[in-house]
Symmetry: C2
Subunit: 279 residues, 2 copies
């Protein structure tokens, strides 16, 4: 049980986290910073928020844990801004979908705080406070990426924090994290975007014929382009490696169809099913 | 209202069709043929089936409409088998996911029947009688591909039949149908398979971290490999053209990421979102 937690950024993830903390009685006071005055006004009226602040430094005062829930490009700049205000070894984490760039950026910032990166693998193609849900994190995975200097007690504390909102927590390095999510999250997003972008060239009438298969396969492409541009650019090298690997695989799947090699085509379809059935 | 309809093949689509016909009171008697004795035994116990037959020709006797609901490779062979048994201009259709090969095959068969191809764009990665649902067709699109000789009255009858089970019906040529579904159904399936097949090479632990994005993007890859091998091979040329187009698009999406061209990457993400938001 925390006495006070600061949530920096009240979009889908920040608000869902506040809702989860309050509904599970994991925290007495939730302090919220949001860039926009109208979002702060909305938050202040809600049960999940005890106080809002115009400046992020004020929102962090007296908190045992600070969770930065802003788009990936702004996480390190915000950390730089709030860093000088801490007066004890405050634990700070984030919810960013990339970790290498963020953890490297954080390690270069001086201040009386300890940063441990988090990536709760929960979300939606719908963004903003209005889509928040107390059960967004329930049953999903959360990856922690502590650096070598991280205190064991704080790693444990953060582990328990995410478990508290219902997540399965694992720990790895920022490098490994970025390699993994490039494959299981960023590549699928990029493929969905690519398929949609490709089909946009085609006749309008085709869209009306789409079944559940196309809808599910492309759902994530509806996500915020600006958020995803930031994620793909942050994780550029790993994403490019994942795309290259996929391009080779696609050529290898096309070849038996091209060569009328039924057994080869069947083998690829069976491989695909084997992976999907295990998910 | 039909007096008697024959359903040839009682898998997911055939059984769902029978369920829909009975629950909407669109047909008095449903005759069912299934290859396996145990499936016939199950069907006979169900409300949606009035009689089962060991031979498809027997199942068709006296029906006003015959719907062939078997995997695409067996539709024409079954049509050949049942064709000699008709004694008036019986309307025969199918539910196959490809139309060019099937309609060409059907046009070469002599007999007192008229074949009009149908493709109800409904289904699931789960196959078989046990997954059937009366509302499977509700709200989905159905594509009819009558040839030039088809009788207007029978086209109208088939149109009303699929509308009767809740579908939005459109008419096009078998060639155009195959081009469309190569892009909006077969390509998405192939990409999901390819992504799964690619990820199967990676570390097992990665699967446990997968979020809803990967699960949705790859759902269809769980479909029956044998059914999908038949579909991809039937529609080989159009699928290969769709894959080629996608490969060019993927390279075009990779390029701005490679060149650190933020505006170019953003434009592709926005194109993708524009298409998806219209679905």
């Amino acid at each position: 049980m925390f006495h006070q937690i600061s949530i920096i950024g009240s979009g889908l993830l920040g608000t869902s986290l506040a809702l989860a903390l309050k509904s599970r009685r994991l925290c007495q006071r939730v302090h919220v910073w949001s860039r926009k005055p109208e979002t702060r006004a909305k938050a202040l009226l809600a049960d999940w928020c005890d106080a809002t602040f115009e400046h992020a430094t004020e929102a962090c005062k007296g908190s045992e844990l600070v969770v930065i829930c802003t788009p990936v490009e702004t996480i390190v700049p915000i950390l730089k801004e709030i860093a000088p205000s801490f007066d004890k070894e405050t634990l700070i984490t984030d919810v960013g979908s990339t970790k290498k760039t963020i953890c490297q950026g954080a390690s270069g910032i001086k201040g009386d705080f300890n940063f441990i990166g988090s990536h709760p693998m929960a979300g939606s193609e719908k963004t903003g406070m209005s889509h928040a849900r107390a059960d967004l994190f329930q049953g999903a995975a959360c990856i922690l990426t502590p650096d070598e200097d991280a205190h064991d007690a704080q790693i444990t504390q953060l582990h328990q924090f995410w478990e508290g909102v219902g997540m399965q927590v694992v720990t790895t390095t920022p490098q490994k994290h970025d390699e993994i999510v490039a494959h299981i999250s960023h590549l699928p997003h990029l493929l969905a975007t690519c398929l949609c972008s490709y089909l946009l060239e085609k006749e309008v009438g085709w869209q009306q014929l789409a079944g559940g298969g196309l809808r599910d396969t492309t759902r994530v492409a509806s996500g915020d382009p600006d958020l995803w541009k930031q994620i793909l650019e942050h994780n550029r090298e790993d994403v490019l490696r994942a795309v290259n690997g996929f391009q080779i695989e696609l050529q290898a799947l096309k070849t038996p169809l091209l060569n009328k090699d039924s057994a080869g085509l069947m083998a690829r379809l069976e491989r695909g099913k084997r992976f999907r059935d295990q998910l």
